[in-house]
């Protein structure tokens, strides 16, 4: 068994990691850290884990050595602390944005100046569909952002097949759930304000745009809306390209994902769910991708659960690869219908 510790275990993605770790056949839960919840039971914050663990939160200063370290902390923490954290574990999977960008200048532009820029080269971007071989040898994995995961996986086959390139105009529309905003409350997340909104969020400068452009090589025009969902991301990408045939798209998406365990092509002429739909993948590690085409436009869709394929689930998938376990270990849930 591999011991897995979670830094920042009181947040939503931290809680999702705990759910996956306690159900994982090869992982056992080590410490769970939280400054604000120190000494409280984990189940006082994550009630879904009642009966599954009697762990209590510990202060991050009391971190002990472990085998596998997941960091589910707000942006800025691990870019400072990573040198110390890596001394505690052979494998670190960081769920924040602190090690996703290759170029330190990207942090100046999209985040803050990076205090450990030399470590960026050591981090592998944690999308197995793009970097499976690199993850296999990685000791530092930067799990991708939720909006970025959905967007990259929707666009990746179009780029790989040459249907879309950096000369094409790509408009990216992302619809995000409330849990994607994290567990900290603010006025905008107050129920009376958040409920039923269709709220433009970072209309032209969402941070995840940086990693989407890095990984696709495209110049994307991205807008995110906060909508009425607790879990889920729906991404719709419009590429203004002419003369693409439906069969080309089938070939591109099958070529990219035909052997992938957690990406499914959802495009059907029949049934209620003809394209990717977030609620179909709720609680699962799947990313459903789909497409449609007209004379002068290709539309690519994707849907993920932001807590799963968009963060904790893909972090565990990457850890499974890095540790040599079955890639799908602990991630077998197929979702529910109806939900």
């Amino acid at each position: 068994m591999t011991e897995a510790t979670v830094i920042g275990g009181s947040g939503y993605t931290g809680g999702e990691l705990l759910r996956l770790i306690v159900g994982h056949p090869q992982l056992e839960l080590g410490q769970v850290t939280s400054r604000s919840k120190e000494r409280r039971t984990v189940t006082s914050v994550h009630p879904n884990l009642r009966g599954a663990t009697d762990a209590r939160f510990v202060h991050p200063d009391d971190l002990e050595d472990t085998d596998l370290l997941f960091t589910a902390t707000p942006h800025g923490y691990t870019m400072e602390e990573m040198p110390r954290l890596r001394d505690h574990a052979d494998t670190v999977v960081d769920l924040s944005g602190d090690f996703r960008l290759d170029d330190p200048a990207g942090y100046d532009e999209w985040y803050d100046e990076h205090p450990n820029p030399g470590m960026l080269d050591e981090a592998v971007y944690g999308v197995p569909e793009l970097y499976r071989d690199e993850i296999r040898d990685a000791s530092l994995i930067a799990a991708a952002g939720c909006n970025a995961t959905a967007s990259i996986l929707a666009l990746h086959p179009l780029v790989e097949s040459g249907i879309v390139d950096d000369e094409d105009d790509v408009v990216l529309d992302v619809k995000a759930s409330s849990s994607a905003g994290g567990a900290s409350a603010n006025t905008a997340s107050h129920h009376a304000e958040r409920s039923r909104v269709v709220r433009p969020y970072a209309p032209t400068s969402h941070r995840h745009q940086a990693e989407i452009e890095q990984e696709t090589g495209l110049d994307v025009n991205m807008t995110v809306h906060a909508i009425e969902m607790v879990r889920g991301i729906a991404a719709t990408a419009h590429a203004l390209v002419e003369g693409v045939e439906e069969k080309e798209l089938w070939k591109a998406y099958r070529g990219a994902y035909g052997d992938e365990p957690f990406v499914r092509v959802a495009k059907s002429r029949r049934g209620v769910y003809r394209y990717p739909e977030p609620k179909v993948v709720e609680g699962t590690n799947y990313c459903d991708v789909g497409f449609e085409v007209s004379d002068d436009r290709v539309v690519a869709f994707s849907a993920v659960d932001n807590m799963m394929k968009g963060s904790a689930g893909m972090a565990v998938q990457s850890a499974n690869i890095a540790l040599g376990y079955d890639e799908g270990a602990g991630l077998g849930f197929n979702g529910m219908h109806p939900v």
Binding site: E246, K247, W250, V265, R269, R270, R274
Partner: protein
């Protein structure tokens, strides 16, 4: 049993039973309804959409 290509998405569609000409089978990948156009060799065409009968 042999298989044949879906004319819509090019998936290999392999019926698990002995199909007859004119039989309808749906593609497991794209959901298109396919009509068995021939059996030797097996060949599909996209089945025509049913049109609304307004009773007139």
């Amino acid at each position: 049993m042999t298989s044949a290509e879906c004319p819509v998405c090019e998936a290999e569609v392999e019926p698990e039973w002995e199909v007859e000409r004119g039989e309808i089978i749906d593609c497991g990948d794209c959901g298109a309804e396919l009509e068995v156009a021939d059996t030797e060799p097996l060949e599909y065409i996209e089945a025509p959409e049913l049109e609304e009968d307004w009773g007139e």
